[in-house]
């Protein structure tokens, strides 16, 4: 289970929030807050927590149905698991920073005074609209060593062509490229919304001080976008572990697991290998990894986020 987002012990005492939030620790507010959460929690518990507990339960059983830690033993000794984990970390490392950086760049561009920004905005957003299954097929075509246009282009300018998806060295980077393409415009939308909420007076003030756009961005816009960045970062990291639709179509995790990702492996285990117990154990591993990531993200970042 993800540990609770830790309450920073040295962090601001209750009083601070109290000023910020018109909330005076009255019991009424307690009950009210939980009432607000209740509908969402009913659904969350029914369709997320309860199933996860079920799968945690089954992970503690052998396939014959008796209580045992055999699944976790298997997990520790499963080279595929470790490879998949490694792949996933590289995948996250390769996609998250790049797509976030691109997203901000895009958002700043289409938020500013750009010629034809309506068109550009649409262009950036199209990957989000396109269904992953269809997109994966299209990219499969782009990457294909024979008819694929990427090799066609490389060949035309005299560069060596490759079997992008058929080569363990290039398959993961190729998938990263596709993932970045798919995600950047998606994150852009949230940065754009964040930029829209920003008072233009701040930019005016720093313009007058002679700040370049870049400087203003670095010192004012970006810090003020931190709430969005925290959000996008958490989503990007979880997405790096979560989005696997393309694998079904593009590589199936191959060649030889070179592009296999954790969730895909879980899915395979559960629905191709029909081994729900081991899938449960893998799921727990995923929850722990992402939970740890979330704890780190929140402890490190949430404190630096300036909300107002």
């Amino acid at each position: 289970m993800t540990a609770a987002i830790p309450t920073p012990t040295t962090a601001p005492p209750p009083e601070e929030r109290r000023r910020r939030a018109p909330l005076r620790g009255r019991l009424g507010d307690q009950a009210f807050a939980w009432a607000l959460l209740a509908p969402a929690f009913v659904v969350l518990i029914a369709f997320t927590h309860y199933p996860i507990i079920r799968s945690a339960w089954s992970s503690a059983h052998s396939r014959r149905g008796d209580l045992s830690a055999v699944q976790y033993e298997t997990l520790v000794n499963d080279p595929v698991f470790w490879q998949v984990l490694r792949n996933n970390l590289w995948f996250a490392l390769g996609t998250v920073p790049t797509s976030m950086a691109l997203a901000i760049l895009m958002a700043v561009w289409v938020n500013g005074k750009l010629r034809g920004k309506g068109f550009v905005r649409l262009a950036y957003f199209t990957p989000t609209i396109l269904p992953m299954v269809a997109v994966a097929s299209i990219w499969l075509f782009f990457f294909s060593p024979g008819v694929g246009p990427i090799n066609g282009l490389l060949g035309a300018v005299g560069l060596p062509t490759r079997n992008w998806l058929g080569d363990p060295d290039t398959v993961l980077p190729a998938l990263m490229v596709m993932m970045i393409w798919k995600q950047a415009g998606f994150f852009m939308i949230f940065y754009l919304a964040g930029l829209q909420n920003m008072s233009p007076e701040l930019e005016e003030a720093s313009t007058l001080e002679g700040a370049s756009r870049w400087y203003h961005f670095r010192r004012v816009t970006f810090p003020l976008l931190m709430p969005t960045t925290l959000f996008v970062f958490v989503v990007a990291v979880t997405d790096a572990f979560k989005i696997i639709d393309h694998l079904f179509i593009m590589t199936g995790g191959g060649p030889n697991n070179a592009s296999n990702l954790l969730l895909f492996y879980i899915y395979d285990t559960a629905f191709t290998f029909f081994d729900p117990n081991y899938a449960g154990a893998l799921t727990m591993a995923l929850v722990v990894i992402l939970g740890l990531a979330a704890v780190i993200q929140f402890t490190v970042l949430e404190r630096r986020v300036h909300y107002r």
Binding site: E201, E204, L208, E209, G210, P223, L224
Partner: protein
């Protein structure tokens, strides 16, 4: 090196119905180098807009913006090297007071030591030194305003625009700041364009006052001239607190009948037959010895400490205000006689409101 000039500047904003609202209709302002120019005018008359156009934050719809004779309409704000105190402060919410103040210095890569020193000095000048580490959200209104002021003070800009920079400060601090600002301006030879609603600020600080009205300039003059010789009734009633009393008068060439005055006054100069007579509240004395007099009943009396404001209703139904030094304890309904002298009178054309030149005295 830093004369600022607006020449026939117009500005219109798009309104919500797709049309446009004209906000400035040909504004001419000259702020000579090293001068302290105050913009004065009713709320919404276009003062802030004019400043923003000078700063380059808003583009002029028409007309020229000149700095040192160079047309800068197309020069981006960042290149104009102008400092500004925004009416709503525009502090960076995520930066501390000190960081806010030295933001511009960091932009210009001033070395850290020097930056720190200058920031501290500016903070000290505005009395913010105990709050350097606070975020703007932890400051009181006046403290925020002072932070904004300090931010403009540390900059090296030769032109400084200030939009009501002292409006949220108490009288004492404001007095201090007035002196501080004026000294700084003189010492550094800054060209300052300063928007204020405070008459005292306008009168004490300005080399030059520009009175605006509904998007154009009503009068531009040295402060004392503005007070003594307002260009028209509107300026007259805008300057001075409480403003000049304006009473209708009729003249037959030799005698002037002023509403509310029991007897006609003899004239020594030609005035049109219909005039508006202006008398400053402080020109009236209770039971004084001036040759011109009014009779009326006290309607309200406001004691301000150093002086008392009497609002009178004459027998003819005219209402006007007198400002009497000291504390005068008058109750509503008291009958009083007010006097004044001919030199204190100002005459305006009744139809146009324009001042009649070389105002004739009785």
């Amino acid at each position: 090196m830093s004369e600022v000039q607006l020449r026939g500047v117009t500005k219109s904003f798009p309104d919500s119905h797709g049309g446009r609202t004209d906000v400035l209709h040909g504004v001419d302002i000259v702020a000579p180098e090293g001068q302290f120019v105050v913009l004065l005018g009713p709320s919404g008359c276009g003062k802030s807009t004019s400043l923003r156009i000078i700063a380059g934050l808003e583009s002029a719809t028409g007309g020229d913006v000149l700095i040192d004779g160079q047309r800068v309409n197309d020069v981006p704000a960042a290149k104009r090297r102008i400092a500004m105190v925004f009416q709503n402060y525009a502090l960076y919410p995520h930066l501390s007071v000190l960081e806010n103040i030295v933001f511009g210095l960091r932009v210009r890569k001033v070395p850290k030591r020097q930056r720190q020193e200058r920031g501290l000095e500016a903070a000290r000048k505005v009395g913010l030194d105990p709050y350097l580490d606070r975020k703007p959200s932890q400051l009181s209104g006046g403290q925020r305003q002072r932070a904004a002021l300090a931010r403009a003070l540390v900059s090296d800009s030769k032109v400084v625009l200030m939009d009501e920079p002292l409006s949220n400060l108490d009288a004492k601090l404001r007095h201090q700041m007035r002196i501080e600002l004026r000294n700084l301006q003189r010492d550094l030879g800054l060209t300052v364009i300063y928007v204020t609603h405070d008459q005292v600020e306008a009168m004490t600080m300005a080399d030059h006052v520009v009175v605006m009205r509904e998007g154009s300039v009503a009068q531009a003059a040295a402060p004392i001239d503005l007070y003594t010789e307002p260009a028209d009734t509107e300026v007259a009633s805008f300057i001075g607190s409480p403003p000049m009393n304006l009473l209708p008068g009729t003249s037959d060439g030799t005698n002037l009948r002023v509403a509310g005055s029991p007897s006609p006054w003899s004239l020594q100069a030609r005035v049109p037959s219909e005039v508006t007579v202006g008398i400053r509240p402080e020109s009236l004395a209770v039971d004084g010895s001036g040759p011109l007099e009014f009779h009326g009943r006290v309607r309200t009396s406001e004691m301000l400490g150093a002086e008392t404001l009497l609002t009178l209703l004459t027998d003819t139904g005219e209402q006007f205000v007198a400002r009497i030094p000291g504390i005068v304890r008058a109750t509503e309904g008291d009958q009083v006689r007010l006097t004044t002298t001919p030199q204190e009178l100002r005459f305006f054309d009744a139809a146009t409101g324009r001042a009649l030149v070389a105002p004739a005295s009785a």
